[in-house]
Amino acid sequence: MGITAKNFIASYTKPESLITEEYPEEKPKLPENNRNFPFLVFDDDPDAGLRCVSCKICERECPPQCIYIVQERDENGRPVKQPKVFDIDISVCMSCQICVEVCPFDAIKMDQEYELSSLDRFDPLIHDRQRLSKSNEYYHSIHPAEAAAVDAVLAEKAARKAGNKKAADNES
Amino acid sequence: MITLPAILALSAALFATGLGIALIRRNAILIFIGIELMFGAGVLNFVAFWRFSPDPEALTGILFAMFTIAIAAAEISVGLALVILIYRHHQTPELDAANRLRG
């Protein structure tokens, strides 16, 4: 009984021993690695700047098969490197991050938003492309270190591409 | 004010009810309850007689009532133990099924 008495008194005398977070008023500080559901990163323009090229690797690899992608086609019916439909059913998604790992374009990342509960099973819980698209700045704001690393890699890739192109230009 | 015969009549009725239970029920435990009701009628008589006695300070009726209650308690404790015993033998608390004295 001594132990419980100690804890009882401590809960009044030592504020840090109270472990409850009063949720709606104070929200937990999420560690950088925290993940919840995926989102799509765009660079500048929410429409054209989307990094996703609809290669469908994530759709294939997703273990619970919650991603659904339809590729965009232009007027001539030729595929364009843009997703026309990109849906994620977050009630099926199990936040495993495999889509992020397999994406070769760093286009899909994990979000930290968690207040997603709703009364409707369908509309609010099936995220479409528009809802999934979030800017690179947002990405930086939730995963600063990781985003910086990704940006570096992308910049390097771009530089190499540019270099290659320049080299190709030079050659021709 | 209620007279002594009225209370005695009530007690008689209670006694008859207890007797009726004891006579018409099969279940040994209920038979015991009937007997307890008869005891209760007796206790009521004791109390009534004490109340209407010429010398209530003697408290004899009260004391007899107490002794009766104690005896009733002793009786039912042994009785219920017997019923449990009978039940173990015959798998039923009905006395009709246990009319043989051999186990």
Partner: protein, 406 residues
Amino acid sequence: MTALSGTIPVFASLEGAPIALKAWILGMLENMGMPEPFLMLVSIQLSILGFFSVFLLLFVLASWFERKILARIQNRRGPNRVGPAGLLQPIADGIKMLTKEDIVPVAADKVLHACAPVLIILPAFLAMAILPYGKNMTPVELEVGILLFFAVSTATELAVFMAGWASLNKFSMLGAMRAVAQILSYELPLILAATSVVMITGSLSLTAMVEAQGGYLLGILPNWHVFTPWGFAAFAMFFISALAESNRTPFDLPEGESELVAGHMTEYSGFKYALFFISEYLGLYVVCGFAVALFLGGWQAPLPFLTFIPSWIWFFAKILCLVFVAMWIRGTFPRVRVDHLMNFAWKFVIPLGVMVLVSAAVWHLAGRGPLGWILSLPPLLIPYWLMARAYGRNYDAGGRVYRFAE
């Protein structure tokens, strides 16, 4: 009342406040020309209303109190959303309970199922009537007060039994069987413990018992029974048995949720369940009240210079202390097992209870004083020590030694 009360008039006026209020209302009615029988009826009604409302308030407080205490023991905050510091939580609970669907199982014995919750709450109210809340503040002065308590508290087990049996649920049935066995077993030590006080006081009336504990030894130590060897043992016994009697942890086997879901209350919902809930808390208050009256000096102040505080405040303060201890125990101990419980009652508490009687008798003869202390301790300590040794042998309570493999 000492001279201090004169200096602090607030307390002095508080002392008789409840009685004065009643007298004032009665007097007003009398002035209005009400007939005598009606006045008597009103007087009774007022007394009943008084302790009814006080205890309902206490019940409401208790559920808040319990949640808060348990939460604090567990390093949580407890209710803090409804009202200031969650004080309105019990009301929210009540509304929730009332608006819930009342479910009666199809196969249940509907009449008994409905009767049980009503019956279970009756004994607590009946027993409240004879508690001495303060000086001249016993609602019903009864010469055989303590007998009434035991007589009505047995009705609880009947109600529990009815609830369990009528629900036609195996868990309920098991819970009811446990409850009956448990309450029956702990009735005895409860009576034994109270009997020791009856022996010393020479009366069955609670008011007399409280008054016998007035006065102070050497001017500081109150003459409470708990400060005597037999009294302390009897108090411990009484409190433990009272916890068992009111189905509180660690003796909450009848409703032991980890094995029996909710025991006899499994098939209850809504308001009927709330009645069980209320009766548990009221029962707790009542048994604590009796423990206070029997052993802790009732409404007597613990120290002579504190007598200026009204007696009924002392009474309720003591009750709340005991209630707190009960909740503290609930926050600490796991539930005991049913056979341990019975063994504890029959093989430990009851023999000890008999020894308490012996000790009290010795005390009664030897008188309050060093001789009483010397003579009344051995009949308690020796059997206690012997029994503790005998039963302790079954377990390696001192801790086991474990091997380690590299």
